[in-house]
């Protein structure tokens, strides 16, 4: 009787273990699907709206990094340039910047990426926000400020 119970218990535990393992693998696949799913990188109005909204939000570093591909892919598009300028002006130039604050730090990494995109565009209208970042060195990491100077150098006057 006791032996039967032991066998049943072992069987149940094995089933439980296998199903847990299966669930974990499925989740892993699902996650990797999210990361690897190729995003539609066109400059469609919907895509740009989504990218802007994501980049204007707080936190979401992983999502922001991913969605930046849309801007990167369309760096010469006028809407992308305007949105990048707007983001740098209103969301990525904070007076109270603290490098120790994780959210602020990662946002500043995104700011550096946006600056690179603006630099690649060479757009003249990118000068005012780039100037603000280059001058207000306490609002950013040193690397971000360097990117701003480099982007100013790349402007096609």
């Amino acid at each position: 009787m006791v032996k039967d119970m032991k066998i049943t218990l072992i069987f149940l535990l094995s089933v439980l273990f296998c199903s847990a393992l299966y669930c974990q693998e499925s989740l892993k696949d699902a996650n990797s699907n999210i990361i690897n799913t190729p995003v539609d990188l066109s400059a469609s109005s919907e895509n740009l709206k989504l990218a802007y909204a994501t980049l204007a939000s707080v936190g979401n570093y992983g999502e922001k990094k991913k969605i930046l591909k849309i801007f990167n892919n369309n760096y010469a598009d006028e809407n992308v340039i305007d949105m990048t300028i707007d983001l740098l002006d209103h969301y990525y130039n904070k007076d109270n910047f603290l490098e120790n604050d994780q959210d602020m730090y990662y946002d500043d990494v995104i700011a550096a990426e946006l600056i690179k995109i603006l630099g690649r565009s060479g757009a003249k209208k990118g000068f005012p926000p780039l100037l603000k970042i280059a001058l207000n060195s306490s609002n950013h990491r040193e690397d971000t400020v360097k990117e701003a100077w480099q982007a100013i150098e790349k402007i096609k006057w």
Binding site: K124, F127, P128, L131, K132, A134, L135, N136, S137, V145, K146, W149, Q150, I152, E153, W157
Partner: protein, 244 residues
């Protein structure tokens, strides 16, 4: 033979490096050691179109504590404007004159970075435009900052000898900076600084070589108790440079 070929690029490299170093030394001669010049790309070439933004950012800094570094960067960018003719000189003149026009009587009340004003003065000098002679003479006469007064005095000859520089410098040396004052004392900081400006004025008179400067140079060497040794030596050297 092969060595000769190797020597040519080596010479060019050394020559290039040394002339670059000289250029930097000239710019840096009157600047504070902690000025944030290293953070700005040296090869920037900018158009007049950026002036409104620079002027706006500059005006925003006025009266704000800790804004000297930012002012320096703004003025440095203005000096990188390369189109000719350029409206940048009006902006630079404004930068140079802001503290004088404000009637500041103490260097503790400065609202514009002295380093920013020095590079503005240097760039005005590069214009070779005699229109700016009164601006620099005003700095020499009315400014409170030592480095801007010296920079203005040294840069005056690059704006041409319009005839108005020598009489004004002679007058300043005779009265404001000169031998008309009592015995020189290094302990008196104002007097010490004034004498450094006097030395710069004397050197400038030598560079201009105008014989009208002779009387004041003679007066200076004849009253060594009213100046530092360096100033007296500069007066002798300038006398030798006069073109009779």
């Amino acid at each position: 033979m092969k060595n000769r070929f190797l020597m040519i690029p080596a010479f060019l490299m050394i020559f290039g490096l040394s002339s670059q170093a000289m250029g930097q030394a000239e710019i840096g001669a009157f600047l504070s050691p902690d000025v944030p010049i290293g953070s700005i790309p040296k090869d920037l070439k900018l158009p007049d179109a950026i002036l409104p933004y620079l002027a706006s950012e500059f005006n925003n800094t006025l009266g704000k504590q800790g804004s000297f570094d930012m002012q320096f960067k703004i003025v440095f960018l203005a000096t990188r404007i390369t189109n000719i003719p350029s409206a940048k000189y009006d902006f630079l003149q404004n930068v140079v004159e802001t503290d004088i026009k404000g009637g500041n009587t103490s260097s503790k009340l400065l609202i514009v970075s002295p380093d920013a004003r020095v590079i503005a003065i240097e760039d005005i000098g590069l214009s070779s435009n005699s229109l700016y002679i009164p601006v620099l003479l005003d700095v020499v006469e009315r400014d409170n900052v030592l480095q801007t007064r010296i920079a203005a005095a040294k840069i005056l000859p690059s704006l041409g000898n319009s005839g108005m520089i020598v009489p004004k410098l002679v007058d300043l040396l005779k009265n404001q900076y000169g031998s008309g004052r009592g015995k020189f004392s290094e302990a008196d900081e104002k007097r010490y600084n004034d004498d450094r400006v006097a030395q710069a004025l004397i050197e400038t008179l030598g560079d201009l070589g105008d014989p009208r400067a002779f009387s004041v140079l003679l007066r200076t060497v004849m009253s060594p108790e009213t100046h530092r040794d360096e100033t007296i030596k500069a007066a002798w050297d300038s006398m030798k440079k006069l073109k009779w």
